[in-house]
Amino acid sequence: MATPELVGNYTPPVSAWARFIRWASRDRVFKWVPFVPTQALFMFMMPAFALLIYLSFINWRLTRGDWWEAGYYAVKNFGRVLTDERFVGSIGNTLLYAFTSVPVEFVLGLLLALAAQKITRGRSFFSGIFLVPMMMVPVVVGYNFTMIFSEAGPFNQLLSFLTGSDVRVNWLADFVMSKVAIILADIWQWTAFMFLMLMAGLTGIPEEPIRAAKILGANSWQIFWKITLPMLKPVITIAIVLRLLETLKVFDTVLLITGGGPGTSSESVAMTIYKVGWEYNRISRSAAMALIVFFGTMVMVFIGFWLVRRQQRAIEEGLV
């Protein structure tokens, strides 16, 4: 027969697992639980970035053995790369794509958002359909535009219809039109993003200032420039910065639409790095390019984040 004390103080045996859970659920420990595996993943991938620097100083080709056996090449890669017209041109192209397509997307998106605000019926129908391009696989968008701009494509048909003559031009072999096709593909896919962001911003604008301005005799033009647009500023900044940073990565559509051609005239930076590294096997040279692009992107990202954070604070403080 058990003694009374034993019955009263009986505690079930605690398994190691339960003790572990109890240990892990203390605040002090718990807050690091997801952080540790994430950091572990980063730690695992980190050496790769050190490797990027190493790769850019050796002379390694994909077809020539392993990279740890390749010879030292000093800064010759950088010298070659920086004087390479192709690389410099591709940087120019990437900036051209980003700084032409994003403003057009913004203007179109703003007009669409304003138009969608005006109408009474079918708003969700329109915005539902407009979203579809954003969900498309970029590769699919790419070859859709190759079909449209091909010699026997609907774009030529449209031009024939408009001009009344038989237009049969291979647009993608043209130095200017190949770039236009790439820009158009981006506009087609991402105007919806601007539209969505600006719609969200427009619905968040309070009615009072607009009504007050109307009573004071402002016309709709003044209201748009003096009230609506300033109030949209945070959303506009965030949308444009995110879109610009995203467009600088462009690769899929360029590869599919023009393949960088004619020649190398429409290559984006990512495309040049890929071609030099994988098609011409000069992976070390493409590592040097990647390093330069890395630092360039860092500068852009810092500027972008600085702009975004300022606007985010404005949103959080309710200034808008």
């Binding site: 790769a48 669409l112 969608a116 890395f294």
Partner: protein, 306 residues
Amino acid sequence: MAQAYGMTRSRKSFFAKTSSYMFLLFWLFVTLFPIFWMVSTSFKPPQEWFAWPPIWIPVEPTINNYEEILAIGPGGTGSENTKLAGAQQVLTAILPIRDSLIVAIISSTIAVVLGSFLAYTISRYQTGGKRYPYILLMIRMMPPIVIAVPVLAYFSLPWWRGALHDNYLGLILPYVLITLPYAVWLMLSFMHEIPRELENAARMMGAGRILVMRKVIIPLIRPGLAVTFIFTFILNWSEFLLAYTLAGQKLVTVTVQLSQYEAADVGRLYGPQAAFGTIAIIPLIILGFMIQKHLVTGFSFGMVRK
């Protein structure tokens, strides 16, 4: 006078409304046209691919294109006895779809589990400091080609070459790395909506950490988890560059296979490619409509909300 004023007023708004509708309809046409063209091409027989004037609606509609890509030939390369003139074989869609599903589902699951957990500790304990989310976001802003060059060399080290080079794990790790920022930022915006008092109340009543997680947090963020999963799935499914550079021989994803029809020497196989494209985007469009309301949040990393 007042009446006249009212009339110009209403006429003006009528004009504004009509032009708005016109513009929206115009963009509707622009949006739908490439998709329509692809779907229509996927039903065209070879002689209609390059016809002039272009054929909008297939004269002799056929499902041959779908049959070709959905067949698996010997060695998994695709149908060998193709009916398409000039083509030796048409690449199969089945194996890439399988591989893409494996890679996308596993990496999205890891990213969502890790990301939501991380978002929770970031929002409650500021784990990693105030700048940590921004550091994460910076990874996402890197062009993938900058990741691809060194990672290719890194993964070809003899210690793990077998597991990482041109293999599932070798794609899953970078995919988790680049979708984790999305997952964290999206989940952060969902986490901020859960009142802290709710948790504290449950803790006060004696519920343990696990119980609070199970009964309070997870039910409240379940929609957020679903949205984040779908979102990262869409990103992973559409990812092309890393799949093209880090894999591509043994492990071929949908996007890589799609680009192969273009490079084929046997001429452009518009029909099968369009059929494959149609198959590849249908799940994304369905998933996208499911999270339609959250797309703004998703694409803006939760910075802008509806």
